[in-house]
Every structure is written in C-alpha cells, then in structure tokens.
Symmetry: C2
Subunit: 128 residues, 2 copies
C-alpha cells in the first residue's frame, strides 16, 4: 500500500537565459518567485496551483536541448510507484539521486520523486 | 482591466496511439477519463488539480511531432492578455479559432484561451 499525487508542474528553462524565463513565468502567472535557498538550479512560484494540497509550479535551469514542461509525481514509496507505472506501460529512463525519470507510453518524460512537501498525503491517491 | 489564470495542463498525445496515452495518464494520476461529448480530439481527467478553481488536466490528440506538455492561460479578454504577455517578451506563433498560440521567452509554447469554465474568475489575477 502506498500513495502518490501530482506534485509539481516543472518548466525547464534554458540556463543560457533562465533569469528571463523565470521572470516571464512569474509575471505571466501572477505569482512571486521563491528562489531555492540551497542553490540556483530551481526556483518555484509562490502558492499552490488550485489551492491547498495542489501542485506547485517549479522552474529548473537545464541545457537548451532538454527544454520542456514535465510533471512530477510525489510518493511515499518510489520503488512501488515506479513498479505500478511500469505495469501501466511507462519505462525507466534514468535514476538521478533520489528520483526516477520515466517515460510515459505517450512519449512524455516525467519524474517520480519521494515525499518532499509537508502536506503529503493531501490529495494523494492510495494504491492497493 | 482584465483577468487571467492558469486554467489547463495540456498533455499532447500522438494520435497514432492516443488511447494508450490517455489511459496511462488516467491511471497514473488516479483520475477517470472524461471524454469530450463534442468530438474525439480532447479528453480530460475528472476533477481539478489542487481543488476548486484549480486547473484541469486535458489530453489532446496531436501529430507526433507536436508532442509536449503545455499550459493554457484562460482570460476574459484574449487580446488584452496577449498584449500583456507580449510586453513580457512572449510572441504570437499562431491564431487558431478563438485562441492564440504563443511562445514564452523560455522557448515554451503555451495558449491564451477565452473563458471556457463556469467558475471563472476563481483564482484569476486581475491586471490593471
């Protein structure tokens, strides 16, 4: 038995011009930038999408070739969630630190990440 | 004076295998499929991301070359919103029916769409 939820909409911005990209999305969506105190790779937008327990919008500096929007699924059991998603047709592309990059049958990359927000498991689905 | 909000996370699925893509995202995120009664191009997932007023997850059949995840911004004044976003550095890529495809300075395509959900303007930002 484990739980998971859509936790993050990640906008990958090219590092060559990431400040401009971050500023654009902040102003376009009307949310303040919340820089990560631990480094410059990530910056989030203040507040939850939709409300309590909803996802956040996170921007990540990446090399230009990777630019995309992708979804993160947060779970209290990464391996169980990866196994569940593999049975649905997704495949593992990479394991980076504590998260797993997967590719959906639709061709979209997404990440499975361990619990990292204090309100988990709000809005999470429990899987048998 | 107009308002806008992040209304939709759109997952573009290749039409060659869209049923499988739709089914995957439904089961991965634990939300039922809600087929569009007006056609087969769009299928949404039941419920709002985060709660009342939050975005929906919508899946769209597209040609393989277009596959991506993109964001829709819903507004009660499309032209005013496009002008606001152009001043922030976005540019218009195409006008399709009643919505405008734009590209952010970060290189990400997104759409500006007219009000299409009855709870607008919940969670929308008012722009001077």
């Amino acid at each position: 038995m484990h739980r998971s939820r859509l936790s993050t909409v990640v906008i990958d911005c090219p590092e060559s011009d990431s400040e401009r990209g971050f500023e654009f999305w902040s102003q376009a969506l009307g949310r303040d930038l919340l820089p990560d105190p631990n480094g410059t790779r990530y910056t989030s937008l203040r507040g939850r999408v939709g409300g309590d327990g909803g996802p956040i919008v996170l921007m990540q500096r990446v090399s230009a070739a990777e630019r995309a929007v992708h979804l993160d699924i947060e779970t209290n059991d990464v391996e169980a969630e990866v196994t569940r998603l593999e049975k649905l047709g997704a495949r593992v592309k990479a394991r980076i630190r504590n998260h797993v990059v997967m590719e959906a049958p639709s061709g979209h990359p997404f990440c499975v990440v361990p619990v990292h927000r204090p309100d988990f498991p709000a809005r999470a689905t429990e899987w048998p």
